[in-house]
């Protein structure tokens, strides 16, 4: 009987367990998790902070689900892997034997290397403990300074604001998320934040966190300004939690290096999720991903391989869905930097009537007051797209990008500024999608 050991209880770990169990009904599966909370929705923490859900909503699996999967849980930190003995030592003194091991330890928030970062009131949003701490603080404190340019920083900003705190948001550059969003998109987000009463400080960096009796009292910026606050939220990036692989012979680069089968350089040891740096044969590079979707897929495929069903992982076109200042936003394929490529034309359309008049039958969401679609068009393909607000065409565009659909029949119409790009794409989708398109068409006609 094969003994499977999974370190980590995030999306990758749980998905691996499902995959293993689907191919090996009798193998012994043990999951080691450092956090007592076990498996929960890490992205859901953002909505827990805003008060849209309660903490008990964050747990997607019930006890019965784990029973069904016949998995044994150990709440402890994995300390050391001993590959030639096929053993993992835990902090609590236990030593576990494995036939196949999965490292799915995820990532942790990067700390701000500034004086005062140890003060009470300095928070990050890494795990459920952080979220609980934030809510405890938010209850008693008044003003927060948030530092960081990505999604997590915005989650902190929105979380604190929705709990009634004054929020100062520090951006290092001139605008929000400038390496992915274009100027208008950044400004849409910033405008909405300002409307909510958030003070954005551009070109502002943290120099020092000030405190009194061990608690945060304010911050000092690099240009010498002082802002009084009692909370400092830091979201300046994440790092793979790869320490477990140190001095084991497991190959490490920026993350734990794995091939397209999610296998490390050691035959029975696999890695998946945020901790894994996965070789992608289609681009010939090893890539770090820190999103729920890829973590789940990597975990699943790692699990299949561990259970003996050999299956490669292909990353495919990048795909991320998030919510920025209340706007559902989908980012597909390549966006940043490609505008300089003369073969690629960036097409942007702002708000349009046609968004709101799309029939509900194919609409996932509607009635946003801001909608925006940006598509990057190469000679014959869409290479990237960003949809903000209404997501009606998201599935169609996702399909067109990952399937590398030839869009030359509509290229001219796409580039024609007098035509609605949404209508052009919607009509094209009806033509090219034999299953969904025609039936949706039928729905529409009946």
């Amino acid at each position: 009987m094969t003994k499977y050991l999974i370190i980590g209880a995030g999306a990758a770990g749980v998905s691996a367990i499902e995959a293993i169990r689907s191919h090996d009904p009798t193998g012994e599966i043990t999951q080691v998790c450092e956090e007592s909370a076990g498996y929960y929705s890490r992205p859901g923490l953002a909505y827990y902070l805003t008060g849209e859900i309660t903490e008990d909503c964050l747990y997607p699996f019930k006890e019965t689900d784990f029973k069904r999967l016949k998995v044994q849980h150990i709440n402890a930190q994995a300390k050391r892997i001993i590959p030639n003995e096929h053993r993992v030592e835990l902090q609590n003194g236990q030593s576990l034997f494995y036939n196949r091991l999965l490292i799915a330890t995820g990532a942790r928030a990067t700390e701000a290397k500034v004086p005062g970062n140890e003060l009470e009131g300095v928070v990050k949003l890494d795990n459920i403990e952080d979220a609980r701490r934030i809510l405890k603080f938010a209850h008693r404190r008044r003003t927060a300074v948030i530092v960081g340019g990505g999604i997590t920083a915005l989650e902190l900003v929105e979380g604190f604001r929705s709990r009634g705190l004054n929020v100062h948001y520090f951006l290092r550059g001139d605008r929000y998320w400038s390496n992915l969003l274009d100027e208008t998109e950044s400004h849409i987000v910033e405008h909405r934040l300002k409307e909510e009463g958030i003070q954005i400080h551009y070109q502002t960096e943290l120099a020092e966190i000030l405190g009194k009796r061990g608690r945060v009292t304010g911050v000092l910026t690099t240009d010498g300004n002082k802002i009084n606050c009692d909370i400092v939220g830091i979201a300046i990036g994440i790092q793979p939690r790869k320490g477990i692989a140190d001095d084991t012979g497991i190959m490490i680069d920026r993350g734990i290096s794995v091939d397209e089968f999610l296998n490390t350089n050691i035959p029975d040891i696999y890695a998946a999720g945020d901790v894994a740096q996965v070789y992608d044969p289609t681009v010939g590079k090893a890539i770090l991903d820190s999103l729920w979707g890829p973590a789940r897929r990597q975990g699943y495929i790692a699990g299949l391989n561990m259970a003996g069903k050999k299956m490669p992982y292909y990353k495919g076109a990048a795909f991320n869905v998030t919510r920025l200042a209340g706007l559902t936003t989908t980012i597909i394929g390549t966006l940043g930097g490609r505008e300089e490529d003369t073969d690629v034309v960036g097409i942007v359309r702002g708000d349009s009537e046609s968004w709101r008049q799309m029939p509900d039958a194919i609409a996932a969401q509607a009635n946003f007051n801001v909608n925006r679609l940006r598509v990057l068009v190469s000679e014959n393909h869409f290479v990237g797209a960003l949809l903000m607000g209404d997501q009606t065409l998201s599935r169609a565009i996702h399909h067109i990008i990952i399937e590398k659909t030839d869009i030359s029949p509509i290229r001219e119409r796409i580039l024609n500024p007098s035509l609605s790009i949404m209508d052009v794409i919607a009509d094209f989708w009806i033509e090219i999608s034999p299953v969904h398109g025609r039936k949706e068409h039928a729905t529409i006609k009946s």
Binding site: T322, P359, D360, I362, H399, I402, V435
Partner: protein, 101 residues
């Protein structure tokens, strides 16, 4: 002819109530549970999204709470019988994630 002119939203709404069902696009879902939290009759919508299965529970009111509340646009209405995404088969051919087959 443009898609939006083909028929009015009012007709669609009625049709959704009669023969529609809620369908998830699992690749957008992060299992936050907002959908299930807001379901007035307690359907575990999130589990359907995890499995990539439509909400085929006969109790579903197609009230649209879950569709409207989902922060990531995972859920949409579709006419019954239209679904074709399933998690296992998508994984077996993972280049086609989240796309109709």
């Amino acid at each position: 002819m443009s898609l939006r002119n083909l028929f009015s939203a009012e007709n669609t709404r009625r049709q959704v109530i009669v023969e529609g069902l809620v369908v998830p696009e699992f690749s957008r879902c992060v299992q936050c549970g907002i959908c299930a939290y807001h379901c007035p009759i307690g359907i575990d919508v999130r589990r359907h999204a995890w499995l990539g299965e439509p909400i085929n529970d006969s109790h579903c009111l197609t009230c649209g709470e879950c569709v409207a509340r989902c922060p990531r646009g995972v859920l949409r209405f579709e006419r019954s019988g239209l679904f074709s995404e399933s998690f296992e088969s998508t994984h077996d051919n993972n280049e086609n994630e989240g796309t109709p087959k």
